[in-house]
Amino acid sequence: MLIERLEIVSFGAAVNEQVEFGTNAINLVEEHSEQERLLIPAVMLAILYGFDPDQAGIPESLGDVSKFRPKDGKGTQFLASLDCLQTGRHLRISRDFENNKATVIERGSSEKDVTDEFLGNGDKSVGEVLTKLSHEEFWQNCFLLNSDKRNGTSAAAAIAEALRKIVDPTSTMYGKALAVGVLDSYLNQFPYKSIQIKIDFLIHELEQQKLELKRKTESLDRERKGMIGLIEGVAAVTPKLDGKVGQSDANEYFQLCFRAAEIDGQVLHLRAQHVRLRNILKDLARIGSMEGFSIECQQPVEELWKRRSSHVDDYRNLEQELAPKIEEYEAYEREVTQRWERLQSFTPEQAQALRVGADNFLILAKELGESRQQRERQEKGSEGGQIDLSKYEEIKRTLASLEPRDANDAKSYSALIMGFRKQLASSEKGKSKAESIISEIEEQRRAKAEGGNVLKMFKPSLLRQPELEAAQADLERHVARIDDIHGRIKNLESRIQSLAQRAGIGDGSTLLEYINQYSAASPQVQEMERLDESIVQRQAACDRLKSDFEQYFRQAGRADQEINAENIASLSSDVINCLRDFRSLNSTFGTLKLSKQQLEFLAAEIRGIDEALQELFTRAKLNEPANVEASYTEFYGKIARYHHWQSLQEEIAKAEHKYGFNPGTEQIHQVLAELELERTQAWSRIHELVDHFPEIAQAKPPAANELEKLRGKPVEAELQEARKERDNLQRQMKSFFNDYDEQYTSLLAMMEAVDHQLTTSRNCKLALELAREVLEQLLMDDLAKVSPKTTVPKDAKGEALPLILDAAGWSQEELEFSLALRFVVAVIAPSRQTILLSNNRKVRLERFSPILNMSSIPVHFAWRKALESESVLPKAAT
């Protein structure tokens, strides 16, 4: 039985897929997962034998229908079919797994349902009827999914056992395989010029190189043959030129020599000019553009400069003369200025005002101080005199409450009372005196009267009588007076009383007392009041002055100082001293100042000149017109440069006029290049002529005048044409043979090397391949010997059954795998349709192409692909 095609409508993960198998090939199916790989044997087995979970000898997983039921449910038919070739009949076995019903169709020009033939009474599966093998037997003979299956007698187990022996390193097959591998590695990694390369590739490359070299060589050969025509052309044109061309060639030769010499001269001359003019251009570049330079400024500049020089001399002499004094002056001025920093702004008027103000302030301050002291003394004095100032204040207030007239009346009354009391006292005193005198006289009289007769001689009653009488008169007068005064006082006291009532004190005596007390204390109080008033006035004056001084203090930079007598005096003194010092400075250096003024005048003059010069220098576009002296030098340098520039410009203009361009510029390279080209062409032609006609070089050159004539004389047209033809032929030939000489031998050498390498490589390849092939043949013989006889079981019709191998199960060393593959390819595949299930591309069957060719077993890559729409499967199944 040969399997042709597997079509799956739905089975496990496969939906609408088909796999085509080669019936006379080794089939390689690449599936990465084990589940997908096992799908193929599972579906084949299921189509042929259906699902039977109790079937012995079959992996349990393949008997469980639920594992392969479509996952998307009812929409998809659980169906697959197998196309096979059985004794020349093309059969399609389809099975609907839902109802486990199999259908067999005989394919051909007309499809025929032969299910009955293969199912009969239906108690056997189609696989059993078809192969006469039970489910288990078919599995054990056709499917090898585990290489470790060592026990058992089935064909697949025998193959597994054989495989195991083959990969045993102690076997002779292994040694041969290793040798094959060694030879194979040399074929794939052939040593070539220190690299390793596949020998087929190397040979291909060398062949290509050889072909290319051959093509080039043949091309040169062809071209060389083509040269024959040119050589014949030379031969043909030669007679036309014979006898005539010699002189013409010679003329051309000499003219060219002459021209070449001329060019040499021109080139040398131009190069010299180039150097000279390039230097001129460099000079010009260094000078810069002097275009528009105001040369007319030269005269005024010169005149101004003379004046300036004179002034400058004077100035310098004077300055030199005054220098020590000025230095002294300046030192002193510096000292004064430093000393009286910020006081210089004071004018003499301000100084005067300041001094007066200061004096006034001092006086006022002194007076104020004195008044204050006096006031203090007064105050202390009043305390000593038991002046009750508080009471005094009350008296003063009481008196102040009276009308001024009443107050004056009260004071007058009081004064009168006082006067009267003084008078009273005087009168009392007079009365006492008169009484004492009287008493004294009476005493005296009594004393006389009681005393001796002598004393009695004077009558005692007359003693001192006048005085007695005067005393008595005084006594009477005083008594009268006293009485009068008392009356008067009483009157005045009543008046006082009324005034006291008006003053609200209700007691005239109090008022009187007040008035008396006031009168008694008044000078003291008045003095104090006067002092207070004076203090206030002076303090106000002081304050006014202080405010006046503030501006001076600010002006003097002493705003932070307290304005007091001391500081005012200091400021005033300082200002006066400052002014004095400056006056002294001015008076001491007065002459010097005059000289300085003269210096300044000179300086002003110089400045004026400098300004004029600056203007001129600005017009002359100097770098620093403000720096007159530098500019003057620069100006004259510029003038020199201007004249130099002018002369260089003239040189350039002359050269441009002479050569039509400036040879100092880069343009010379173009001109020289043109001349060089012309010279090269001339020399090339000279060489050509000498090469071709060596006799020309030995000919006598014509006289110079004849040469000049020849230059103007055209060559005969026909002769010229023939010469052109000849020259053209010669050029072509020369060009070709120059290349030919250069290339041909090299090509031969390369070809020889390539050829040698090619021969060596080919021989090596042949030898290596031969050795490998013989060893492989020996290996195949060995493999055939280990092949068990039971490895090719037959079905009922005597046909070999297919073998489905899981190559992934052998994924050991590559060498072992190769051996196993060799066994499969060489021994199994020629007798049994073989399907290899692989999990990767490790199965490289193309490597065994020589063996495959020998065995006539092609490789078929059986991919699972989408089922085409025209598939007959659903139709047949339904």
Binding site: K176, L178, E232, A771
Partner: protein, 427 residues
């Protein structure tokens, strides 16, 4: 009174093959090739200088002055100059197989003119025609020099020769410059089979009656004598060695032909070497020798053969078997160091076949299978030369040579035994 004697002296040179690709085929590198090409030209110049010094009567260039296909303009110019410098010493050139007269050869004045090269000087005579022709010696009117340009031997050409020789009018003294092959004067490898059947015979030459024949086809020396052992002609062979078949001393001849008044001729040639180098070839079987013994033996052999260290070019064929692991690589390197150029053909093999393998072993079965194949291959391709002409060997196992099968045998054994292979003659 003794008979008066007329004599003619000459320089005879052949097969210079200037700018020949043979140097390439020898395996010389570019540097050595250029140097060698100059040396060859130098040999010619020295020979001409010597001829002038000896005041010979003529210079005969008998074939293959250069190779038409590869000679450069520079070489042509140098040769033209060299001959011109001989002054009035006549030079007779008979073009040979490689420098045969044709439109694009330097013997054609129009070719020279077209390239702007100098024309041959007046002292040079070129036998540009394939027909036999004679010219008189410019100073010895009685002496006729016969010559022709080369034509490949064929039946027709053989007939032409018969006619030439029959029609030729005998002069007082006739000298022939013959550049076509004469039986016995060349090696089989120098002429392919069809042409070889139509070459001139010695008998024909003797019968032609020339007083002296300067042969120029063969690369090695040759002398033609009559029955009385008188020298009738001579071939110098190549003036310089440019192939490994041109071994040993290479010479030019200074000849002298004397004819007395009675017609008696006495000819002699003196071979003189002008090449600074020689090619020395040697083959050694190193079986049973150690590498150092083999080296001593080889160097001694070369010395015996006259090879000069650092000067000469040697070709060594190594044969025999060596013990496994003692490849002659060091010997080859040593030989290359010792000479100007050394080309070594290594045909040695490891001595596997000397070992006794068990009859059923892989090695024994492999050797047996390979020897059968070798025998078959050698039956099919009896000579190595059949595939050694530079043409690609036909593909497939049916066209294997015995040598390739032998290589395969040793490669297979090495793979089996050593798990590696020594590839032979691979750069």
């Amino acid at each position: 009174m003794p008979p008066s004697i007329e004599s003619h002296t000459f320089l005879q040179v052949s097969n210079l093959n200037l700018d020949s690709p043979a140097l390439i085929r020898m395996g010389l590198n570019r540097e050595h090739r250029i140097a060698r090409a100059k040396e060859i030209l130098g040999a010619l110049t020295r020979a001409l200088t010597e001829a002038k010094a000896r005041k010979v009567d003529a210079v005969y260039v008998v074939g293959n002055l250069w190779d038409n296909q590869t000679v450069t303009q520079e070489t042509i110019t140098l040769v033209v100059d060299a001959f011109e410098q001989l002054g009035d010493l006549p030079v007779f050139i008979a073009p040979g197989k490689n420098d045969a007269c044709r439109v694009d050869s330097a013997y054609n004045p129009h070719f020279l003119k077209g390239l702007g090269l100098r024309q041959w000087s007046s002292n040079v005579h070129i036998f540009a025609n394939q027909q036999l022709a004679a010219v008189e010696h410019p100073r010895q009117a009685d002496w006729k020099i016969w010559g022709h340009s080369f034509q490949l031997p064929s039946e027709e050409r053989a007939k032409q020769w018969q006619e030439f020789l029959a029609k030729r009018s005998k002069g007082k003294f006739d000298l022939l410059l013959l550049t076509e092959p004469v039986e016995g004067a060349f090696a089989a490898s120098e002429l392919a089979e069809p042409a070889r059947r139509h070459v001139l015979t010695e008998k024909q030459i003797i019968a032609s009656g020339f007083d002296y024949v300067a042969f120029g086809f063969g690369n090695n020396q040759y002398r033609l004598r009559d029955e009385a052992d008188r020298l009738l002609g001579a071939q110098t062979g190549s003036l310089v060695g440019q192939k490994f078949s041109e071994v040993g001393t290479r010479v030019a001849f200074f000849g002298k032909v004397q004819k007395d008044s009675q017609g008696g001729i006495e000819t002699s040639v003196e071979p003189v070497e002008f090449d600074n180098r020689r090619i020395v070839a040697h083959s050694v079987d190193m079986s049973g020798m150690t590498a150092s013994d083999a080296m001593v033996d080889i160097m001694q052999s070369f010395e015996d053969l006259g090879a000069r260290k650092g000067v000469d070019i040697v070709h060594l064929e190594l044969e025999g078997r060596y013990q496994v692991g003692q490849e002659p690589t060091a010997i080859i390197e040593k030989i290359k160091e010792n000479f100007f150029q050394a080309v070594v053909q290594d045909n040695t093999r490891p001595n596997y076949l000397a070992e006794a393998f068990a009859p059923g072993s892989s090695e024994a079965r492999f050797i047996k299978a390979m020897l059968v194949l070798k025998k078959e291959a050698e039956k099919r391709l009896p000579t190595e030369e059949a595939t050694a002409d530079g043409e690609p060997a036909p593909a497939g196992m049916d066209h294997l040579s015995g040598r390739v099968v032998e290589d395969a045998l040793y490669y297979g054994l090495e793979a089996l035994r050593q798990k590696r292979v020594n590839l032979r003659n691979v750069d």
